[in-house]
C-alpha cells in the first residue's frame, strides 16, 4: 500500500517503521481473517460520536459479531446495556501487559493473533500499541479509531467522520455475513 500518512499527533513519530494504513474493505477482511481476534474497548468510546451514534454502539456490534471483548475504563455498563457481556473487565494497562505473554488469552481458548483497540484515548492507546509493537512481536495490532496510530501494525488513516463510519459498518457487516 503506497499511502503515506502522518501520525494524527504530529509529534508522535516513533521511528521509520510505522503502521500500515488501511481503509475500505481491507480492514474488514483483516478482521475477518483473524483466527483469534481480541477487541479492547476504551473509555473514549462513551464520548466519541459518529453518524448520530456513539463509538460504543459500533464496538458493541463488533462484539456481538463474535469478537471476544475486553471492557476497559468504565465502559462495561454501556456494553452490557447494548446486550454485550465482555469476556473481561480490565484496565487497558492490565490487558496490554498480559498480551505480551504469548500464551495468554482473555478466555483461555488460545493465544490471540490480532488485537484491536477502539476508543482508548489517543495518547494512551499510542503507548499501549508501542508496548505490543516492541514486546509482543507474535501479535498484530489494529486501531479502529479515526486517527492514524503509527505504533499499530495496521491503523485507519486520519479519516473524515463519514469515512470512519463506513469503515466500521463494513467490518460489522462482513463479520456478520
Amino acid at each position: 500500500m503506497a499511502m503515506t500518512v502522518k501520525p494524527w499527533q504530529w509529534g508522535n513519530v516513533p521511528g521509520h517503521e510505522m503502521a500500515t494504513p488501511v481503509k475500505g474493505d481491507v480492514v474488514a477482511k483483516l478482521v475477518k481473517a483473524a483466527k483469534r481476534p481480541l477487541l479492547i474497548v476504551g473509555g473514549a468510546s462513551l464520548k466519541e460520536k459518529l453518524g448520530g451514534k456513539l463509538l460504543i454502539d459500533f464496538a458493541a456490534e463488533l462484539a456481538k459479531a463474535g469478537i471476544p471483548t475486553v471492557a476497559t475504563a468504565h465502559v462495561y455498563k454501556a456494553l452490557k446495556d447494548r446486550g454485550v457481556e465482555p469476556a473481561a473487565i480490565m484496565t487497558v494497562a492490565d490487558v496490554t501487559n498480559r498480551l505480551q505473554d504469548p500464551n495468554w488469552s482473555v478466555d483461555g481458548k488460545g493465544p490471540h493473533d490480532l488485537v484491536i483497540y477502539m476508543g482508548v484515548s489517543y495518547q494512551l492507546q499510542s503507548q499501549m500499541l508501542s508496548t505490543l509493537k516492541h514486546f509482543a512481536t507474535h501479535l498484530r495490532t489494529l486501531s479502529l479509531d479515526r486517527y492514524f496510530h503509527p505504533n499499530a501494525t495496521y491503523s485507519l488513516p486520519n479519516l473524515k467522520e463519514d469515512e470512519w463510519e463506513q469503515v466500521l459498518n463494513n467490518v460489522i457487516a462482513l463479520l456478520k455475513s
Partner: protein, 786 residues
C-alpha cells in the same frame, strides 16, 4: 546482623571503626557523633546498591511494564540506534533497558531538582540564620524528619545538619545518574533499582527543603486549622500594583513580603498584591495568608497575557521557559533570581537597587538576573509600585468583540488540534468563533493546559489560547475559591490516633492527590474524587497543584472541600500539606505510622518500614495529571516505600508502570513472620504504579489499592464495602475479583452479603486456610528462625 554491604552493620561496629572504605569513614564519624537516640538499624546512609535486594523483591512481584515513547536511542554519537522489536543498540542495550534508563534519568532529574532546591534554600537560610538554627516543629512533632531518620540514621537538629544530609543526597544522585552513561548499567531491573534509590533520596531532599523553610519562615507546623486563603484567576485587586511570583522556591517571595513590611507598605494585599503561581504560591501563603494563589502551572500564560502582573519574579521549576518574551508582550519586567533559570538576562547583582529598578521601569532591559535575594525583594516591590501606573494592566488577551475578527482567518485545517498535547478540539472551537459562536472556546478554558502549542503551529498565526481566554473573560471574576494554607507535617499526636484504625483497616485508607493537574478536565476530576473519598471517610491529603485545583469544585452549598471538611489527618479530613516538597510529609506520615503506632524501629531501617507500609498501611497516591520529572521521582519514591500510585492517562508517557498479575499466586505470597511459612495474601495491593483511563476507573482502583493483607476482618469489610459500592455504581455489577479479597465470610460487607455469597459460590470460593497472618517479604523478620 549485617547481611551484606559495607554499611549494614551495628552501631558498635561502626563506632569501633571496623570498616576502612574512605567514604564509610566519614559516615562513621558522623554516625559516631550522633547521640544513641535509638539503636542503629542495618542500613544507615544506604548506597546505590544497599537496598537492591528490596528493590528486586518488589520488582519480582510488580514487574516493570514498558511503553516506549520512541523507537530510537540518541544518547551517544553511535546513535541513533533503532531498538524496536528486539533490536540492540550499538552499545548492546535493548529497549527495556533503554526505557528503564530514560526512567532513571527522569527520576534523577526530578530528585536533583528538589535537591538543588533544598541546597539553595538551606545555604541561603544558613547564611541568614546561621548553621546552628534549630529544627523545631513544636511539641506535637517529636519525629520531625522521618525520612532523614529512616534513611540515614541521623536525627537532624540544626540547619547545619540539613546541609550535611544534602552532601549525602548529592553523592547518591551523582552515583545513580552516572549509571545512565553509555556502557554502564545494562539490565532493566537494575536500572529500576537505581531509579527507586534516587527517588527515595528525592523524598529526603523534599523533606529537607520543606522542614528548612517551615522552621525558619515560621510556616504552620502541622496545624490542622491552618487558615483559609484565596485561590483563582479572579482573586487579584487589579487597582493595586501586582507582584507575580512563579516557581517553587519561596526564599525570594519571602524577601518581597519582608521588604514591603519593613518599608511600611503593609502586608501582602495592603498596598501591593503579592500572588503566586505553582508551588511558590503555596509557600507564600504559608508565610502570609494575605498573599494570593493564582493557580497551577496551566494558568501561567493566561495570567501573564492578562497583564495583571506589574512585575514577574521567577525562581525555579515549572516556569514557562519563554516567560521573558511573553512578559515583554504585556510590558511586564521579569526578575529572575535562580541561577538554574536565568533566561539570558543581564546579571545585575553588583548594581544598586535604584539603578536596577530604573533599568526595569525604563524598559532598557526586559528583565534582570538577580540572585541576591534580599536585593531582589526590594527591586521587585519598588518596580511593581512604579510600573503599575505606567502599564495600566496592559494586556494582549483580546476583548470579546475582537474574538471573531481574530478568528476570521481560520481555515479549519486541524493543525492546532493535531499538535495539542491533549487533543482538544481547538480547531473546531476557533472555526466556530469565526462564525460568531464562542461557546466551545469558552468551554475549553477548563480543559486546556494553557501551553500555546496550538498557536505555535497555526499557519494563519491565530492566537488560539488568547481567544479561549477572551471567550472566558466574563467568567473570570467568579474564579475565586477558598483553600486551606499548606499545613506541613502530620502531628505525632494525630498518628497516635489514626495509626490503629488505618493499620487495622477501619479507616479505609489514606488517599494522596498530588502533583500537577495537566489533563482534560483535570481540575474538576481531582476535586470530584477528593470529595468522594473524604465523604467516604478516607483521609484525603493533597499537595502541589492538585491541592490547588481540588478547590475548584464546590459542593451543593457552594463550599470547596477545604470549607466542607476539617483539616485534620483523621477520618474524613482533607489535608493540604503544601507545596511539592511537602509531599515528603505524606510519605513521612506512613513512616510514622509504622514507627509511632507499630513501634517498628525507625533508625536506618528502610526495608522493614517499607515492608510494613506495603503490607499494612492502606495508602495510595493519585497523580492524576502528573507531567514533570519531579512527579516521576516522587511516585517512584512512594513505590520503594511500598505505596502504590495511580497516574492519569497521560502518565502512560512516563513509559513505565510496575504491574502485578493477580492470577500469579506465587508472586503474591509472603512469609508469615510468626512461622516462616509462605502464604498467599491475594493481590493486595495489585500494582505499584499504573496509568488509568478515566476518573471513574480511578475511583474504583483507589478504593481497591487501599486493601492490605494485614486488614482485620472489620477493616477488610469496610474497605470492601467502598470498593464494591463504587464498583456497582460505576460498572453495575460486583467486582469480578472479589474472591481474591474475601478471606472469610466475616470479610463480606453486610450490605451486599447475599449477593456476594451467591457470587462466591458460583466461582467456587472457599474460606482461606490462613486468613490472618503477620505478613512480610523479609526473611530476616521471621521470628521462628531467631
Amino acid at each position: 546482623m549485617a547481611e551484606k554491604g559495607p554499611l549494614k552493620m551495628s552501631a558498635k561496629e561502626l563506632i569501633s571503626g571496623l570498616v576502612s572504605a574512605k567514604d564509610v569513614e566519614v559516615l562513621i564519624g558522623r554516625i559516631a557523633m550522633e547521640e544513641e537516640w535509638e539503636p542503629l538499624g542495618p542500613t544507615p546512609f544506604p548506597q546505590i546498591s544497599t537496598l537492591r535486594s528490596w528493590d528486586h523483591l518488589l520488582l519480582s512481584r510488580y514487574k516493570p511494564f514498558y511503553a516506549p515513547f520512541c523507537d530510537y536511542c540518541c544518547l551517544c554519537t553511535y546513535g541513533k540506534c533503532d531498538l524496536s522489536k528486539g533490536r540492540l543498540g550499538a552499545c548492546g542495550l535493548d529497549m527495556k533497558a533503554q526505557t528503564a534508563r530514560i526512567v532513571l534519568i527522569a527520576c534523577c532529574i526530578g530528585a536533583s531538582t528538589h535537591l538543588a532546591h533544598a541546597r539553595h534554600m538551606v545555604d541561603h537560610l544558613i547564611e541568614k540564620y546561621g548553621e546552628d538554627y534549630p529544627i523545631n516543629l513544636g511539641q506535637d512533632i517529636a519525629i520531625e524528619m522521618p525520612h532523614a531518620r529512616l534513611i540515614t540514621g541521623i536525627k537532624p537538629k540544626t540547619l547545619g545538619d540539613l546541609a550535611y544530609l544534602l552532601n549525602y543526597c548529592e553523592k547518591e544522585v551523582t552515583q545513580c545518574l552516572s549509571a545512565a552513561h553509555t556502557g554502564q548499567e545494562g539490565n532493566y531491573i537494575d536500572f529500576e533499582s537505581k531509579a527507586l534509590h534516587v527517588s527515595m533520596i528525592d523524598h529526603l531532599a523534599m523533606e529537607i527543603a520543606d522542614v528548612a523553610q517551615i522552621v525558619t519562615f515560621n510556616f504552620p507546623k502541622g496545624d490542622p486549622n491552618a487558615p483559609l486563603t484565596w485561590i483563582g484567576l479572579g482573586v487579584l485587586d487589579l487597582s493595586k500594583p501586582v507582584v507575580l511570583c512563579i516557581g517553587h522556591n519561596v526564599s525570594a517571595g519571602v524577601e518581597v513580603i519582608d521588604y514591603l513590611e519593613k518599608a511600611g507598605l503593609g502586608g501582602p494585599g495592603e498596598t501591593v498584591e503579592v500572588a503566586g503561581l505553582c508551588c511558590t504560591a503555596h509557600d507564600i501563603v504559608r508565610y502570609r495568608d494575605q498573599a494570593k494563589i493564582i493557580g497551577p502551572i496551566s494558568d501561567q500564560l493566561r495570567i501573564i497575557r492578562s497583564g495583571a502582573a506589574d512585575v514577574i519574579m521567577t525562581d525555579e521549576q515549572c516556569i514557562r521557559t519563554n516567560v521573558v518574551y511573553e512578559a515583554q508582550r504585556v510590558k511586564t519586567p521579569v526578575v529572575a533570581v535562580s541561577d538554574k533559570a536565568s533566561y539570558g538576562l543581564p546579571d545585575v547583582s553588583e548594581l544598586p537597587v535604584e539603578k536596577i529598578v530604573e533599568m526595569l521601569v525604563s524598559g532598557s532591559t526586559p528583565g534582570v538576573f538577580l540572585p541576591d535575594l534580599e536585593k531582589a525583594g526590594a527591586v521587585v516591590a519598588i518596580t511593581a509600585i512604579r510600573m503599575a501606573p505606567l502599564r495600566q494592566k496592559f494586556k494582549i488577551i483580546p476583548d470579546p468583540p475582537q474574538i471573531q475578527a481574530q478568528a476570521s482567518g481560520c481555515t479549519f485545517c486541524g493543525t492546532c488540534r493535531r499538535n495539542c498535547p491533549i487533543d482538544l478540539p481547538i480547531d473546531q472551537a476557533v472555526f466556530n468563533a469565526k462564525k460568531g459562536d464562542f461557546e466551545l472556546l469558552s468551554m475549553l478554558h477548563d480543559l486546556c493546559l494553557g501551553c500555546a502549542r496550538c498557536e505555535q503551529v497555526c499557519p494563519r498565526k491565530i492566537p488560539a489560547l488568547s481567544l479561549i481566554e477572551a471567550a472566558f473573560q466574563h467568567k473570570i471574576k467568579t474564579e475565586k475559591y477558598r483553600i486551606r494554607v499548606g499545613r506541613g507535617p502530620i502531628l505525632d499526636t494525630e498518628i497516635r490516633e489514626v495509626g490503629s484504625p488505618i493499620v487495622l483497616g477501619e479507616i479505609p485508607g489514606v488517599v494522596a492527590y498530588v502533583g500537577c493537574a495537566n489533563f482534560p478536565n483535570g481540575a474538576r476530576e481531582v476535586g470530584i474524587m477528593a470529595r468522594e473519598f473524604a465523604r467516604r471517610g478516607y483521609i484525603v491529603t493533597l499537595s502541589g497543584c492538585s491541592a490547588m485545583v481540588a478547590s475548584y469544585v464546590r459542593n451543593e452549598e457552594g463550599k470547596t472541600i477545604y470549607e466542607e471538611f476539617p483539616g485534620t489527618f483523621d477520618r474524613g479530613g482533607v489535608v493540604n500539606v503544601g507545596s511539592c516538597v511537602a509531599n515528603a510529609h505524606i510519605t513521612g506520615a506512613a513512616i510514622k505510622i509504622a514507627n509511632i503506632f507499630a513501634k517498628r524501629p525507625l533508625r536506618a531501617n528502610y526495608e522493614e518500614i517499607a515492608d510494613y507500609i506495603l503490607n499494612r498501611v492502606g495508602a495510595v497516591g493519585v497523580a492524576w495529571g502528573a507531567y514533570s520529572q519531579k512527579a516521576a521521582s516522587i511516585a517512584t519514591g512512594c513505590n520503594r516505600l511500598g505505596i502504590p500510585v495511580i497516574v492519569g492517562p497521560q502518565g502512560s508517557k512516563y513509559r513505565r508502570m510496575y504491574l502485578g498479575r493477580a492470577e500469579d499466586k506465587e508472586s503474591f505470597t509472603v512469609y508469615d513472620a510468626r512461622t516462616g511459612e509462605r502464604v498467599w495474601i491475594g493481590p493486595a495491593p495489585e500494582h505499584l504504579i499504573i496509568a488509568l483511563e478515566t476518573m471513574e476507573e480511578c475511583m474504583v482502583w483507589t478504593a481497591k489499592l487501599c486493601i492490605r493483607p494485614n486488614d482485620t476482618t472489620k477493616g477488610r469489610m469496610i474497605k470492601l464495602t467502598h470498593y464494591v459500592d463504587l464498583y456497582k455504581r460505576i460498572y453495575g455489577k460486583l467486582p469480578p475479583d472479589l474472591h481474591y479479597f474475601v478471606r472469610t465470610e466475616a470479610d463480606i460487607p453486610i450490605t451486599f452479603k447475599e449477593e456476594i455469597m451467591r457470587y462466591l459460590k458460583e466461582v467456587g470460593w472457599k474460606p482461606w486456610e490462613k486468613p490472618s497472618i503477620d505478613p512480610t517479604l523479609l526473611k530476616r523478620l521471621i521470628r521462628a528462625q531467631v
